[in-house]
Symmetry: C2
Subunit: 334 residues, 2 copies
């Protein structure tokens, strides 16, 4: 019942613990014969190395923190999968916290990460600037922080994984125009997030280019949920502002908007077409399926994990930014 340790093997084989250790680690300074005996005994007695001891010795916790705004949509789960692909085989644990889009909760989560002695933190933040002080504080402790999707204000020098929100947003809006839409609503994300600004800017640029920009078509929300999407469109309708399409910051917002329109018996995409940013299965689980900018989430997770590893291995490794490509996927909603 008790765990078998290297000491048990040592007694069992009348060998020193160091020889056992060496044999297990494939050190060359071990007789082939001996190694075999050790390996056999280890197998037979069911020896499993004690990671905690290893970690204590190496001074690492072999734990990575993963801090995300939410896990209600599959967005974070997909990124997580990518991170796991890279880190599990290397023996890293991943500890996850959700911030519920609240910078204060994010703060607490980051403190938790510090207590857990994580070797690095991979984070999708809630607010561009509000927690900059802790990000800096944590990095000063020697804990690398890797940002993905939503990144902090330029003033912080950190590694990050992003897509080009500005360009992708422009492309999507231009596509809507090419399908004949002129009154394109933009449901913007929380303005405390740089991506929201970038996507808004892309939207603006195109509408200005085609000379159809109208301030009234921009709808603010104070949150990112389905309900916020619904409310946004509800407001717009009540203000009697005509529109023929919607470009939403996220698929969740888009789905909320769509749901409300369908309740109002508005036909999609005939009367109103809808597009958004996504990368999850959600886009294709609704009817009609949503046209969206499909972010390569799993790949983004893998990239973030790699960035974390390079900082862990060498803390002076210069920060890098990985720009991922995202694909526009045209579905039935446009």
């Amino acid at each position: 019942m008790r765990r078998i340790t290297i000491k048990d093997l040592s007694k069992f084989l009348s060998l020193s613990t160091s020889t056992i250790s060496r044999a297990l680690l494939n050190d060359k300074n071990v007789n082939e014969e001996t190694r075999k005996r050790v390996l056999d005994a280890a197998e037979k007695l069911g020896y499993k190395p004690n990671l905690t001891a290893l970690n204590l010795q190496s001074g690492q916790s072999k734990t990575i923190g993963f801090v995300v705004p939410e896990m209600i949509t599959p967005f974070s789960s997909k990124v997580l999968k990518g991170i796991q692909n890279i880190l599990y085989p290397l023996g890293y644990r991943i500890i996850i916290t959700q911030s519920d889009e609240d910078p204060l909760v994010e703060r607490k989560n980051l403190q938790l990460m510090e207590e857990f002695n994580v070797d690095a933190i991979i984070i999708n933040l809630c607010h561009e600037t509000q927690n900059n002080d802790i990000y800096e504080h944590i990095m000063k402790q020697g804990i690398p922080m890797i940002f993905f999707d939503r990144i902090p204000h330029k003033s912080l020098d950190v590694s990050k994984v992003i897509i080009d929100d500005y360009i992708k947003s422009s492309l999507m809006v231009e596509y809507l125009i090419k399908t004949g839409r002129k009154r394109i609503v933009h449901i913007i994300g929380p303005t405390g997030i740089q991506n929201a600004v970038e996507r808004l800017n892309g939207y603006k640029r195109i509408l200005l280019k085609y000379n159809i920009f109208d301030e009234n078509l921009i709808v603010h929300t104070d949150g990112m949920t389905f309900e916020h999407g619904k409310k946004a469109i509800k407001q717009l309708l009540s203000r009697n502002i005509p529109f023929d399409s919607i470009f939403a910051f996220s698929d969740t917002l888009a789905m909320g908007a769509m749901n409300f329109l369908l309740e109002q018996k508005v036909s999609i995409p005939d009367e109103v077409s809808i597009a958004s940013f996504s990368g999850t299965e959600l886009s294709s689980m609704v009817y009609p399926q949503l046209t969206s900018v499909q972010q390569p989430l799993e790949k983004m997770g893998e990239a973030a994990a790699e960035l974390a590893l390079e900082k862990i291995k060498n803390s002076t490794f210069p920060s890098r930014t990985i720009l991922m490509d995202a694909e526009l996927v045209y579905r039935a909603s446009t």
Copy 2:
């Protein structure tokens, strides 16, 4: 940059490490004055206890394994949240793996958990019997296993958190009948899962009771995804079997079914009404919103965590089954 240890405090204050330790642990055998000095110094130098050392010493990894079939839907995330509520404050890490509904992947995941020296495993399994040998093997190592939602065959004595699938299924089907439906399709889950059998039995019982049971209305799937739901209904339509409603094993299957029907311009709920088992936001993100048996997922996670804790504290603690209540939520799809 280097971590402050108890030794640094010891040097700094010219006290032995044991006194420092005692002061930090609020041991009574410390002069109040001394304790104060220690606490102040700890604060000032930024001392943070090294969890790894603690764990080595206590023989625990303070890590819990969480093994789920998938993280595409928010199902597992919600349970995870509940587990975190209980375990994070206690200093436990949680390591998560997805099995992709594949018992072989689940096996590998469980082995990974063993390697990670987890103190307990909380699992939603892929197949009722196929991995019983490892479950037993793991428990024989002294690692408690807590099952939730999908549980192993009765032959295993384990702690579990479940809802009454049979009853809830019956209630939902009876509700459909009361809304005037007579040709109720059941999309069953994988038969390697006890829940699928239970829900099927509940369905059968009611249809038999009302004398409207028809074997043809039961649709098998070989998976749990959205696409499987679509395919199931496609098959049914191609076989020209008339029906006026659907009761699906899961919301994902229901959404697939609904999506296909909407594509075929079938009106919901007028021509076909739909209900399923759920507990996630998905049910209300589609149009029309899905009627479903709403499982208390976060609460289930909390319960599972409690069960894990009692087994960790006392390995001989008898296994318990917690039966949670689930609510029938009537939405627009019926």
